[in-house]
Subunit: 206 residues, 2 copies
């Protein structure tokens, strides 16, 4: 109760900030006093940005990515390749692929992962949406682009099992050494995956 | 530009969060996605708490502490001792003294410190307010309760020099070993202050 003795609007803000992940009481206090000191428009802009986030965004009716329009710009772009469907965990992962500029298919955003330790499984509705899209768009390949960690692997496995009945090829992103990292500092399980996934060197024809 | 490819309300919130002290891009993203996932009322409550902070609070016209009313509850409490005036750096310091329950005088909140490296000095208006209050309330002692660090010491010294002409005794908080800490882990400058401020042990009369 160290917000005791502070005026209620300040105490209430500290309590609200403290509920955010990774924000303890000290940080919440520091942020609240910062918001008390900064120019008023800067503080009100943050408040408005939080409101807008929840008032202007909704899930895209096709891919579930967060969107301002009912249909997100990617799903609305008919020039993309309908035969490719990439399943990602989060809008951030989708944004990363878009920034890389190397993917021209469509997406499905799960917004969840398979995490049995937290008691969260994959909702059937996610699979149903992917299956419906495979059928409607005659998808030729589903790329499971989940993160290369235990939860991502679990999510991919759970999805793969359910998608197999659609009879469409399901692929996963390549695993191995990430370009620019060094073997010296790579964790043992990274080296194991790099070894297990090794490929024959194409013979140089001269 | 890793907010690129995200819908504008989300990108705008991430940019706003990133302006907060100690919040980098990664944390700003994590917080924004958290606010996207939590129950809508929880997100809107945080937005409203920030608005209220800047719309409901103002400086108390007497002590400059942040307050809902033009006159804060402490200054409005006529049962306190008008002859004591404690100068603190921030509302948090005031709240700490109030929680301790050991002080029954009034306060003046500086909201600033003397920090020549940052180019901030003490505004004359702060001293003027303290001097005016000393005269009006016939204050018998001004306690400079600034923090025991370089900036707090500088603030106290700067204030002391200006208050001396009021002819009122100016005191500072005691310095030494903090109760409950251990000599073993005390920094050298703490031990120096504890040594320099040593007092004669009162003889036990038996």
């Amino acid at each position: 109760m160290t917000t005791q003795g502070l005026p209620s609007p300040l105490a209430r803000l500290i309590e609200n900030l403290e509920r955010l992940p990774g924000i303890g009481l000290r940080t919440a206090e520091r942020l609240a006093f910062h918001l008390l000191r900064v120019e008023r428009p800067a503080a009100l802009e943050l408040a408005q940005a939080i409101r807008s986030l929840r008032e202007e965004l909704e899930p895209c009716r096709e891919c579930q990515n967060i969107s301002i329009e009912p249909l997100c710009p990617i799903c609305a772009d008919s020039s993309r390749d309908r035969r490719l469907l990439m399943v990602v965990e989060s809008p951030k992962d989708l944004a990363a692929f878009e920034r890389s500029g190397h993917y021209r298919g469509y997406y499905h955003v799960l917004h969840q992962k398979w995490s049995p330790l937290d008691g969260t499984g994959l909702e059937g509705s996610a699979t149903d949406r992917v299956l419906a899209r495979i059928e409607r768009d005659a998808v030729k390949e589903v790329i499971l682009a989940t993160n290369p960690d235990a939860e991502g692997d679990g999510t991919a496995l759970a999805l793969e099992a359910r998608l197999r009945r659609a009879g469409v090829p399901v692929t996963r992103l390549a695993r191995g050494l990430a370009r620019g990292t060094s073997i010296e500092y790579a964790a043992p399980d990274i080296l194991l995956e790099a070894l297990e996934g090794r490929r024959a060197q194409s013979s140089s024809s001269d």
